[in-house]
């Protein structure tokens, strides 16, 4: 049993025009020590998949029609809110894109981290490691020590001296480190990172990627890394899942997928990245746009933008091919070596 198993997840989202079928049978298993990159264009369901894991999608307007999100064997969609709260911030850590809006500007960094530590300790007393009768003051002091250790670990220089700073006194990269430290304070088993480096400069991005990479090595946590940057995926992910219009269309070990992309959509995504060899004016874009998910097309949702589409593609769900072990592609007419 994998650490996280998303199984045939269907999510509908109510809107003024009708109900959009935004996740269409997502299935994904993430184990400890694995970093799964989840990639795809805007609006393909990457973030909703991530939010479903921490169950932060508001229902309504959303509605889970089918499927399960099993974490260590427990279906999160069936847990009550109190049980879910014990998991969030303790066993499931989360990092979001914008390090500026995810810290409260009017509280000191330390206070915000102590809050998280105390909450995690409430769910599992081993986080602070104090006996059950410990006073509130002792718990607070231990939480503060833990916060300093975590800041130090994510590479904030002079952590003890900076812990009483406000968020605006930190740079963007340092704020993202604070958020990573916060996500890790409960020693989670699973980390969901939604575009953690998109708002950062490349040099800072490289530092954050190294940090995540080292943490996975040392603590063996599983990571779902949501990004639209295939360069980031190539650098640190062990596996990759390519999403399109609410489904995973190609997945597998990162080398297999990026070296031998087989779904036409994956190939188009890779072809759109300018490389050293691309002559000016010859970069291949991807014409068309993601289909309307309120009246989603029958069959393969990529068919209307696909230059390899067959008549069968517009009818039923596409067949799955497996070009190499673990590399699975949902396509009737795959390209690459599988063709």
């Amino acid at each position: 049993m994998a650490l996280l198993e998303i199984d045939d997840l269907h999510l509908f989202m109510r809107s003024f025009e009708g109900e959009a079928h935004v996740l269409n049978g997502v299935d994904l298993a993430i184990d400890r020590g694995e970093i799964w990159g989840v990639v795809g264009e805007t609006g393909c369901g990457k973030s909703l998949t991530g939010l479903s894991v921490s169950r932060l999608v508001a229902t309504p307007p959303a509605r889970y029609a089918r499927g399960a999100v099993r974490f260590d064997g427990t279906d999160l969609l069936r847990l009550d809110e109190a049980a879910m709260r014990r998991l969030r911030g303790r066993r499931i850590g989360m990092i979001f894109q914008d390090p500026t809006t995810n810290l409260n500007p009017v509280f000191r960094i330390g206070e915000q981290m102590v809050d998280v530590a105390l909450h995690a300790d409430g769910a599992d007393a081993s986080v602070l490691g104090l006996p059950s009768g410990a006073s509130r003051r002792a718990r607070k002091a231990a939480a503060r020590d833990l916060a300093i250790r975590m800041l130090d670990r994510v590479g904030i220089p002079d952590a003890a001296g900076r812990i009483d700073d406000y968020p605006h006194q930190f740079s963007g990269g340092m704020r993202q480190r604070v958020l990573i430290a916060m996500a890790l304070i409960g020693r989670p088993d699973l980390l969901v990172a939604d575009e953690p480096t998109t708002a950062l400069d490349v040099s800072v991005q490289a530092q954050i990627l190294r940090l995540i990479h080292d943490l996975v090595r040392q603590d063996g946590l599983g990571v779902m890394l949501i990004t639209h940057n295939l360069g980031v995926v190539a650098q640190i992910c062990s596996h990759v899942a390519v999403m399109y219009a609410g489904s995973i269309v190609e997945r597998g070990p990162v080398r297999a997928v990026l070296k031998n992309p087989t779904h036409p959509y994956t190939r188009a995504l890779i072809a759109a990245i300018p490389s050293a060899a691309t002559a000016r004016g010859t970069l291949k874009g991807l014409a068309g746009s993601v289909p309307n998910l309120i009246h989603a097309p029958q069959g393969c949702r990529f068919a209307n933008r696909c230059d390899r589409a067959l008549p069968a593609c517009r009818e039923g769900r596409p067949a799955t091919v497996e070009p190499s072990p673990g590399h699975r592609v949902a396509c009737n007419n795959p390209a690459g070596e599988a063709a």
Binding site: V202, L209, G231, Q235, P274, G281
Partner: protein, 264 residues
């Protein structure tokens, strides 16, 4: 066409703090039909330099020449005319279009501002808007739609059409594709290339995506803490950066080839 000569911009420090030198003796040039990349991290002075070039900020020292004329010494009327020749496309296509104006009004607005230079009446402006939208790959059916009805890529096309409206010679592109998906980015980059060929435009292309810079630029300037630390042909820079900063930037650029990852 654009010459920036030793531009320094110093902002006075607040409440007794030391002054901040946002730009220190920056020089660069952009010629016709040339794309010059300006690469630097946040806080390196890219935006200050753009603001100086657009005449929104007055440099503390140094000169900015457009077609040989120093923009600091121009009388207001001449400056107004000059503004029609230097346009800008902003980074965020969601924030840079007025949500209460239609695509038509957004693209027509610069033509109204510069009506003395262009001399277009309302009807001819509308014709020109339709022509511009067509040029950037949108149709007449889009004329009376509002920004929220467009996707990010389409909005950026409207931003480009607006910049082209007054027949500029130089366009400052401030991270024009960083808010877009790669598939859409490819289309916008190709559009920009195509427009450059047709209208002999000069581009000052600001980006932190070195892959994009390599694809579109003839020459590149690296800016670090308000100083140009390296300048030269794009090919040479990517083949072997001379500056410490250039090496660091290239090293940090995530390569989409898993075998070239520093972590494996």
């Amino acid at each position: 066409m654009l010459v920036v000569e030793g531009v320094t911009k110093i902002y006075p420090g607040r409440r007794g703090r030391p002054d901040v030198a946002a730009l220190k003796g920056v020089s660069l040039t952009v010629g016709r039909r040339e794309s010059v990349g300006l690469v630097g991290e946040s806080g390196s002075g890219k935006t200050t330099l753009t603001r100086c070039i657009l005449g929104l900020e007055r440099p503390t020292a140094g000169r900015i020449l457009v077609d040989g004329k120093d923009i600091a010494t121009l009388p207001a009327a001449e400056m107004q005319r000059l503004r029609s020749r230097v346009q800008i496309v902003f980074q965020d296509p969601y924030a840079s279009l007025n949500p209460r104006m239609t695509a038509h009004d957004i693209v027509a607005e610069p033509m109204i501002i510069h009506r003395d230079t262009l001399g277009l009446d309302a009807r001819r402006r509308t014709d020109r808007v339709a022509e511009l939208l067509d040029l950037v790959g949108l149709g007449a059916q889009h004329l009376h739609r509002y920004p929220h009805e467009f996707s990010g890529g389409q909005r950026q096309r409207i931003g480009i059409a607006r910049a082209l409206a007054v027949n500029p010679e130089l366009i400052v592109l401030d991270e024009p594709t960083s808010a877009l998906d790669v598939s859409v980015q490819a289309q916008v980059l190709n559009l920009l290339h195509d427009l450059q060929q047709r209208f002999s435009l000069g581009y000052l292309f600001i980006s932190h995506d070195l892959g994009v810079i390599r694809y579109v630029c003839d020459r590149v300037s690296l800016i670090y803490r308000g100083e140009i630390v390296e300048e030269g042909p794009a090919e040479a820079l990517f083949a072997g950066p001379r500056s410490e900063y250039g090496r660091m930037l290239l090293g940090a650029m995530p390569d989409p080839d898993p075998d070239r990852s520093p972590f494996r």
